[in-house]
């Protein structure tokens, strides 16, 4: 019961740090925030008694009622330039959730609208109002409600009809202050026939605890293509709750790769609604964790219309006494005939104290569908280790190479060379420690 008290106190404390937004802001935005704040009042913090949170005990978060971030510290280009992706022309940098225009490269032109909410709301207010806060679950998810109540800055990306943005758009969310909560936010509107790649990247310069509560909403109109790469590389004291909701219209395609490396406790909810006929998604993930880390990925792929296709590969490499959680829910609704879906969860336990909970969850209400799923949990293959050792590699080198290869399969699906290289280096370094 102490958890509940803690959690209640946590919410109260957070709400106290809520500030009335500047008076100049738009009526509808004020209403959205107020509405979200009302939701916060009706919701409570989840506990392990809630099915959706069964394996992920976030009670430690209840002891950290960190207020919303104060003004972000001055951040120099040199502090963060090593995170920049050479392929990315457009970059939006947020420090503790607050937009940093000096470090960003925005666009507001016919073929790309990429910037912060406060400026784009004046030029594209109507479009933004139609989507912002409309996809994410304000009513049922306490974290989404909190994020929306605190909504101030937000990455906004609008890709007009039939426009292909050939270079990736880099959203760099940097944590600089300790013991604060930041509320990163992102809205992507991909109009029909458009094509865009977005990198959502969480990094930090600090080694102390902070909380991130992020919300991403993406809308894909007919035949739009969105590539979404999400990298969570917070420090190992951080808490990170991320929500992403994606809605796909007719024949649109969403591809995502999410990589979880950091945070003491992290939870990523990815909800993909195939709401138009012939929509397709590929949802891949890799969690590479060690020490006391807990990384939880919950995905929900909702086949609502016929001829949809989904592909999913989720991998966890769990070292030390870390704990990996994967829940992959796939729903095929009654009218979603000829759905083609496959899901694979593969997990590697590096020690006998490491833990994995993996749960495929298929709910199929249509009768003419193809749905495959599988899950494996194991250690490194002894025959593979022996094979490598018989060629002169040490036991440790053999294990490192095999672990690296296991994660490499997911990293390989990232088509941005500089980012791939950064990740390969991180994973190489990590697999060499264990």
């Amino acid at each position: 019961m102490s958890t509940v008290t803690n959690a209640a106190g946590y919410l109260e404390n957070l709400v106290q740090s809520w500030r009335r937004p500047p008076a100049a802001s738009l009526f509808w935005l004020d209403q959205l925030r107020a509405h979200a704040m009302n939701s916060v009042g009706t919701l409570r913090m989840p506990t392990t008694h809630d099915e959706e949170w069964r394996f992920t005990d976030i009670s430690p978060l209840g002891r950290l009622p960190y207020p919303a971030a104060r003004a972000a510290p001055k951040t120099q280009f040199s502090d963060i330039s090593h995170y920049y992706l050479e392929e990315a022309i457009y970059r939006l940098v947020f420090v503790d959730g607050q937009f940093a225009p000096d470090l960003s490269n925005v666009a507001n032109k016919a073929d790309a609208i990429i910037g912060n909410l406060s400026s784009l709301i004046t030029t594209h207010g109507d479009t933004i109002a139609r989507y912002l806060g409309q996809l994410a679950e304000l009513q049922n998810d306490i974290f989404t409600a909190l994020n929306t109540a605190f909504l101030h800055d937000s990455a906004c990306i609008i890709i007009p009809q039939n426009v292909s943005v050939t270079t990736p758009i880099h959203l760099l969310f940097i944590s600089r202050q300790k013991e604060i909560t930041s509320y990163p936010r992102c809205l992507v509107i991909a109009e029909s026939g458009s094509n865009v790649t977005i990198v959502e990247d969480y990094v930090t310069t600090e080694q102390a605890a902070y909380v991130i509560n992020s919300v991403v909403e993406m809308s894909l109109s007919d035949t739009a293509h969105v590539n979404h790469i999400r990298i969570q590389r917070d420090n190992q004291q951080a808490f990170h709750i991320g929500n992403c909701t994606v809605a796909l219209a007719h024949a649109s395609q969403y591809r995502s790769v999410s990589i979880t490396l950091g945070a003491h406790i992290s939870r990523y909810n990815l909800n993909v609604a195939l709401a138009g006929e012939g929509a397709e998604c590929t949802v891949d993930g890799l969690a590479l964790i060690s020490g006391h880390q807990l990384a939880d990925t919950h995905t929900f792929i909702d086949h609502a219309k016929p001829h949809g296709k989904s592909r999913q590969l989720h991998k966890c490499i769990v070292d030390g006494i870390a704990h990996g959680v994967f829940n992959g829910r796939i729903m095929v609704r009654p009218h979603a005939q000829l759905t083609d879906s496959s899901q694979l969860s593969r997990n590697l336990l590096m020690t006998n104290k490491a833990r994995i909970d993996t749960k495929p969850q298929l709910e199929i209400f249509a009768d003419d569908v193809k749905c495959a799923h599988g899950a494996t949990v194991g250690q490194l293959d002894k025959e593979e280790i022996f094979y490598l050792m018989s060629r002169g590699l040490s036991d440790l080198t053999a294990r490192n190479l095999l672990t690296y290869a296991f994660g490499g399969e997911v990293i390989d699906r990232i088509a941005i060379p500089s980012l791939k290289k950064q990740l390969e280096e991180i994973i190489l370094a990590r697999t060499q420690i264990s």
């Binding site: 094979y387 050792m389 018989s390 002169g392 590699l393 095999l402 690296y404 399969e409």
Partner: protein, 265 residues
């Protein structure tokens, strides 16, 4: 090539070994000198593959008695990777597929590990690329195999060529080829055998483990041993393989009975 003055490379005495408590090897004796090629033949289940894996240090087998001296060292003192570095090489009957590890990355890592152990120069990726392409010509291998995952999606013949490619890279003192001929068509067999022949010299030795005589048409052994029920029951020259091919393995048993009783059964 038999040369009585050659140094003894491998000396196996009274080797007993078991897996999961079942005794497979029941007293194997074998002496291999530098420059020699030995063939170990026998039916499935006779213990010949077990013997090959034990030489390489496979952890699934427990040695319960006997001794193996390799190049004046107690082989049992060496871990599998130390054996490899000391010059023992096993070409696997079923080479392992390793998805996600690029073949060239694996080959370079193995090569450089062995080179540094021998106090020789390691190669960077560019130097290695030239070096390996040259070796691949020996086995008529397509360079595309460098970029693929180790053995993944390789045909049976391609896997065996990849094994011999590793042998060419690592230049072992003792190469043990476990059923290298199985799954090879006649062209692939000729290519693989030709590769092995080019790698043998007066300072190294080869043990061919095989069920069939076919391979021995291409790699001519100095000695042929027949293994049965975990022991070597007969040793002779290369003509033994021909006789086995003609008469079958039962012939040895018949001959044994003849020797014991003086009457051909």
């Amino acid at each position: 090539m038999i040369n009585q003055n050659s140094k003894i490379l491998l000396e196996v005495r009274g080797l007993h070994a078991s897996v999961n408590g079942i005794e497979i090897l029941k007293g194997v004796d074998l002496t291999v000198k530098c420059g020699e090629i030995h063939a170990i033949m026998g039916l499935n289940g006779s213990g010949k593959s077990t013997f090959a894996k034990i030489l390489a240090g496979h952890p699934a087998y427990e040695v319960t008695a006997g001794a193996i001296i390799f190049n004046e060292q107690n082989l049992f003192d060496l871990e599998p990777e130390e054996r490899a570095r000391a010059g023992v090489f096993l070409a696997f009957q079923y080479p392992i597929e390793i998805p996600g590890v690029a073949n060239n990355q694996f080959l370079r890592l193995a090569y450089n590990t062995i080179q540094s152990q021998r106090g020789k120069e390691e190669l960077d990726p560019l130097e290695f690329d030239d070096f390996i392409r040259d070796k691949m010509k020996l086995l008529e291998m397509n360079p595309d195999f460098l970029d693929r995952s180790v053995n993944e999606g390789f045909s049976g013949g391609e896997k065996k060529r990849n094994e011999i490619l590793q042998m060419a890279l690592l230049e072992p003192k003792l190469a043990i080829l476990d059923e290298t001929d199985s799954g090879l068509d006649i062209d692939a067999l000729r290519i693989v055998a030709n590769g092995v022949n080019q790698l043998t010299n007066k300072d190294n030795a080869t043990i061919l483990v095989t069920h069939y005589q076919r391979l021995l048409d291409y790699i001519v052994p100095d000695y042929v041993h027949v293994m049965e029920a975990g022991r070597i029951i007969k040793t002779s020259g290369k003509e033994l393989a021909k006789e086995l091919e003609t008469h079958g393995y039962d012939w040895i048993n018949a001959e044994k009975s003849f020797n014991k009783t003086g009457v051909r059964l």
